[in-house]
């Protein structure tokens, strides 16, 4: 099967530019990049489904019909993208409300773990899990007069 070069160029441009954008810190740019990548990926389905054809409606036209299955898959993807956009925008808004910017922050917990690693220390949960019988071990060593029967 021959590939459609135009669609391939368009799709890879969209995906490449999308990659450039999603590696940014600003959540809005990440979102823009995500939408763009989504469009590119949807086009990949068209490329893979073969050459253009008539609409996949029985009896609508003569000639070769375009493959309907990838279209159904992409239709789902398009609507999901809308949900993603809305949700990420709401997150960007909330982030702005709380922090006055919409930058994606580094995870605080991960930074804490890195600090522990740098200091060669064990985790907090380990400190809580030290032995239960230490107290017994301590009394073992002491000898006391036990009295007589």
């Amino acid at each position: 099967m021959n590939a459609n070069l135009t669609l391939i160029v368009v799709a890879s441009t969209l995906i490449g530019t999308g990659v450039y954008l999603i590696l940014e810190r600003s959540l809005t740019r990440v979102l823009v990049g995500l939408v763009m990548m989504g469009n590119g990926v949807n086009l990949l389905f068209m490329i893979a489904s073969g050459p253009a054809g008539t609409a996949p409606i029985v009896g609508a036209g003569s000639g070769r019909m375009a493959d309907p299955l990838p279209q159904a898959l992409v239709l789902t993807a398009i609507v999901i993208t809308l949900g993603t956009v809305a949700f990420l925008l709401a997150m960007a808004h909330r982030s702005w409300q709380l922090n006055e910017h919409d930058d994606v922050q580094d995870d605080v917990e991960d930074a804490a773990i890195r600090r522990l690693a740098d200091l060669d220390e064990a985790s907090d949960s380990h400190d809580l899990s030290l032995s239960a019988t230490e107290a017994d071990a301590a009394t073992d060593e002491v000898y006391e007069e036990e009295g007589s029967s």
Binding site: A3, V74, L82, F87
Partner: protein, 962 residues
């Protein structure tokens, strides 16, 4: 057998309810399960005595050769008696030990009964994997019982320690079981024992099984978990950590010994570790002040002793070992229960504070004395009978040429005899220390206050002590019953029998010596304690455990710190780099020599494509949010045109609708965000990002070229058109695919939409899901605004726009909206109904309706939105999901399958007889969900943000006025 297991399970499930009804008397209901087991086992005595075995088998997972197989032979019968008999007595004891209002009681009752069932399953299982399942069940129940008081840190830690140690052993055992099952070609234990495999793999498998047995039975170096487990309530210690669960390892060794005792490493491991454990346990028991811990270390010592005897693998030793196994269960359970009574009635277990207790509870003290005597090996008790036979069997191994058939060298045999003898001396000494410590009257402390012991409370230890005494005199009978198991080994040097009197013999001499030495050791205890203090080692196995745990934790911290950098960009970059490195390399290696491509399907494609590429380029360069959003919209619309040119009108329609909606939603939010992205200086890392983007783009192009060129088979969907019309009842194949062929996919998708809508609402509303719909007619005019009278019959274009200030209104928009709204809504209904045969469908129709609402909102403000759709968005989405799910499930009522569609012909008289597909109902559900989502977005990102902005403006004005 399986009925008994189920009885345990059912009662365990009823435990909490029974406690609610009967309080602590619930234990009396619980004990019926082990009682039934006990009666059943006793009724089989004669058949067991004649060497019979009883089997039950069901196939479970045939593909894995996994059977539910149970088998009751002599060994299993003995273990069943111990598990159920001690279980009955301990459960009865529990009814006195606990208080009715103990908050842990409901859980405890169920878990304890469940444990009894799991233990029973463990000893009856005849399949290695089934055995493993019950083995780990006992571990888990033990964990829950040790941690019965979750508020105490010590009990949580002890529970976790026991869980980690025994699970570690259990996992090693599982590997061993799988290896053994592979070597033998079956997981049936009886089949493996009948025809044991051999070779290096088998050796490794058996040694791994021993790791499991050793960790469960608390041998060195895993012994430390058992004293820690004493954090459990005393009945648990008596049952799990003395009589039953810790015997699981002993049971496993006894079970495997007939087939695998000659495997290299078996005897070295068990005899070596066993003797060391026996000595170490006894040594530490003598140093304890807590009488419960004293017994715990005593148990460690006795478990080592048991594994030595049952690990040797001679007829005499096995017979003796089984007797000691029984004796130990009887005396140790009794002693623990006695400790529980002492603790319960005096409030302390410290032998430095206990004085004069024996005189106040003579029955309990008497039972303890008998059990203690059995432990020390005094005639005429079962412990004595067992120990005598053990010494005889060990002496046989030591002084016969080939180690009584074991091949052990003489010096090794004598070393074991010496070790066991010294261990027995320590046993006698700590037994005396226990009895003296718990019951004697001492001069160094005041007499302890003792509350009277109810008769029922003391019953269980008294019965156990009586059994020790009674069975001690029934040596001949025991020989007969336990004989079949011992006879799986070749007859040894001499034919041992269990009896109180064997005549004047070497074992009797050793026994007498041990008793004298033990008594001497106890009387010189002050000197001995000083010696112990001087010899106290600085390192312990528990310290080793702690070091291992710390090492694991430290490694986890290092690995996490190294890999989990906490930056999304880093993660994404790593993922993309892997894409480039692995599939990318494969791509380069597999590049075909020649790829033929078509430039385009039509020149229009090239024009639109160029436009999209330019828009993408400028999007990336844009520093203003709005410009970036509009440019990405251009790429979206361009994609829609490409879809259309490709022959996908449904996609094009949906893409345009979604793109338009996204644009509006973006703008609604962007009005709250800064105009420019950031004023950070451009970092040099953007060149890295550019390079990565370029590489990924190129790789994608390469993948598509190669993949498309390689494709030679017709797509699956060439089969779609016929069935789509015939069964789906629609000629638009994409629509039929969505609501019929791949309807599950659509079902999942609308669920995601509901989740996304709810997520947005929760991020914006924060506290409630309800938007609080308010109609215009309910809003009073502000005091400063005077309503002008309108001429009668004249109506406003849009009701909600009067709530806007005049500078935000546009009369032209209002008029146009008034004209087109109903038309657009009609169009959306048409798209919904026609979608099955023409372009359209639930998604597109829902988006169109949503856009109509959006226009009303943009023109007339948030109150206009409430006028247009006076319904809560969440309710609408939920109803849509309900309709879709209902139509998916409806076919079940007519004997169909989920999401099956059918054609209905309606008889409407003069209106004709339209054909309706049931999948239309599903599509209506989709339609409602999509409208609900858009309404939700308008309510949250639109109306709610409006109010926030308004409030901030008012606050600002007030601040200026002040």
């Amino acid at each position: 057998m399986v009925q008994l297991l189920l009885a345990h399970l059912v009662l365990a499930g009823l435990g909490p309810a029974a406690v609610a009804l009967f309080g602590r008397r619930a234990f009396l209901l619980m004990l019926t399960a082990p009682l039934a087991t006990l009666i059943w086992a006793l009724s089989l005595t004669d058949r067991i005595r004649s060497g019979e075995t009883i089997q039950q088998t069901w196939s479970w997972v045939a593909g894995l050769d996994f059977e539910i197989a149970f088998r009751l032979g002599t060994l299993q019968w003995l273990m069943t008696l111990v598990v159920s008999g001690v279980g009955v007595l301990v459960l009865g004891y529990c009814a006195y030990y606990f208080a009715d209002d103990d908050p842990a009681l409901p859980m405890f009752t169920g878990v304890f009964t469940g444990f009894a069932g799991a233990m029973l399953g463990l000893v009856l299982a005849d399949d290695l994997l089934l055995l493993y399942v019950f083995w780990e069940l006992t571990t888990v129940f033990s964990y829950l019982l040790i941690g019965a008081d979750p508020e105490k840190r010590a009990s949580r830690l002890a529970a976790m320690q026991a869980l980690i140690v025994t699970t570690f052993g259990g996992l090693a055992m599982l590997v061993g079981m799988l290896m053994l099952g592979h070597e033998a070609g079956t997981h049936r234990i009886s089949a493996i024992l009948a025809d044991p495999p051999s070779g290096d793999w088998t050796t490794a498998a058996v040694l791994l099984l021993l790791v499991g047995a050793i960790s469960k039975s608390a041998l060195v170096p895993f012994h430390f978990w058992l004293p820690g487990a004493m954090a459990a309530p005393t009945p648990v210690s008596a049952y799990l950590h003395a009589a039953s669960m810790v015997k699981a390892g002993v049971y496993l060794v006894a079970l495997l010994a007939p087939a695998f005792a000659d495997v290299p490493g078996w005897r070295a491991t068990l005899l070596g570790l066993g003797v060391i454990t026996m000595l170490l346990g006894g040594w530490r028991a003598i140093r304890q002040y807590d009488i419960k811990l004293l017994l715990a270390f005593g148990t460690v010592s006795q478990l080592g002793f048991l594994l030595v005897i049952l690990g040797i693998g001679t007829r005499a030793a096995t017979l003796a070992g089984l007797a000691v196994l029984l004796a130990h269960a009887l005396f140790k359970a009794c002693l623990f229960l006695v400790v529980g009574i002492v603790d319960h009635q005096t409030g302390t277990r410290d032998l430095r504070e206990l004085s004069g207790v024996g005189a106040r509870m003579p029955w309990v003290a008497g039972a303890a004395a008998i059990a203690g005597a059995s432990m020390a090996g005094l005639p005429p008790l079962l412990g004595f009978v067992g120990k005598e036979s053990v010494l005889a069997a060990l002496l046989d191994v030591a002084h016969t040429a080939d180690g009584d058939g074991t091949g052990l060298a003489s010096y090794a045999g004598w070393a074991v005899v010496a070790g066991v003898a010294v261990g027995s001396v320590l046993t006698v000494a700590y037994t005396l220390r226990f009895l003296w410590g718990a019951f004697a009257t001492k001069t160094t402390c005041e007499p302890t206050a003792v509350t009277p012991v109810p008769a029922g409370f003391a019953a269980s230890p008294v019965v156990l002590a009586a059994a020790s005494l009674g069975l001690g005199c029934a040596g001949g009978w025991l020989t007969g019953v336990l004989g079949p198991q011992a006879d799986t080994f070749p007859a040894g040097h001499h034919h041992t029998e269990l009896a109180l009197w064997h005549g004047w013999s070497m074992p009797l001499l050793v026994s007498a010596g041990v008793l004298v030495a033990g008594a001497l050791l106890f009387s010189r205890r002050a000197t001995f304690a000083q010696l112990q203090a001087a010899l106290s080692p600085s390192r312990s196995a528990e310290g080793g455990y702690r070091a291992v745990m710390r090492f694991v934790d430290r490694s986890a911290v290092e690995v996490t710190g190294l890999t989990q950098r906490g930056s999304v960009a880093t993660y994404l970059a790593v993922i993309l780099l892997v894409v480039l490195a692995v599939p990318g390399t494969a791509l380069l290696l597999e590049l075909p020599d020649r790829i033929t491509v078509d430039l385009w399907d039509s020149p229009a494609q090239a024009v639109v494509g160029a436009l999209v590429c330019v828009a993408a380029f400028f999007t990336a360069r844009s520093r203003r949010r709005l410009r970036a959003v509009i440019l990405v919209g251009v790429t979206g619309y361009g994609t829609a045109v490409l879809f259309l040119l490709h022959g996908a009108p449904d996609l094009a329609l949906t893409q345009i609708l979604v793109e338009t909606t996204s644009l509006v939603v973006f703008v609604l939010v962007l009005r709250r965000l800064p105009e420019y992205f950031t004023d950070r200086p451009l970092s040099r890392r953007r060149y890295l990002r550019m390079a990565l983007g370029l590489a990924v783009g190129l790789a994608v192009a390469g993948f598509m070229l190669v993949a498309t060129a390689d494709r030679s088979v017709d797509p699956l969907s060439v089969l779609f058109p016929g069935p789509a019309v015939e069964y789906g009842g629609g000629s638009n194949i994409v629509s039929v695919t969505l609501v019929d062929i791949r309807a599950w996919d659509t079902m999942g998708e609308i669920s995601v939409l509901v989740a996304a809508g709810t997520g947005v609402a929760s991020l914006i509303f924060l506290d409630t899901r309800l938007a609080g719909i308010r109609r215009v007619r309910d809003i009073p005019y502000p005091a400063t605004v005077q309503k002008l009278p309108t001429s009668p019959g004249r109506r406003v274009w849009l009701p909600g726009s009067r709530t806007l200030t005049p500078d935000r209104r546009s009369i032209i928009f209002e008029v146009v909206t008034r004209f087109i709204f109903h038309t657009v809504m009609l169009l959306s209904v048409y798209l919904l109904l026609a979608g099955h045969n023409h372009v359209g469908g639930g998604f597109a129709a829902g988006m169109v309706a949503g856009l109509a609402l959006m226009v009303r909102y943009l023109v007339g403000g948030r109150y206009e939105l409430d006028e247009a759709a006076p319904v809560d968005a969440g309710v609408l989405m939920g109803f849509g999901l309900f309709v879709a799910t209902g139509s998916a499930l409806a076919p079940l009522a007519f004997g169909g399958i989920v999401l099956q569609s059918a054609e209905l012909t309606l008889h409407l008289g003069p209106l004709g007889e339209p054909h309706l597909m049931t999948s239309l109902l599903f599509d209506i559900g989709v339609y409602l969900v999509v409208i609900g989502l858009l309404l939700d977005l308008l309510r949250t990102l639109g109306a709610r943000l409006d109010r926030q902005i308004l409030r901030e403006e008012r606050a600002g004005e007030q601040a200026v006025r002040l």
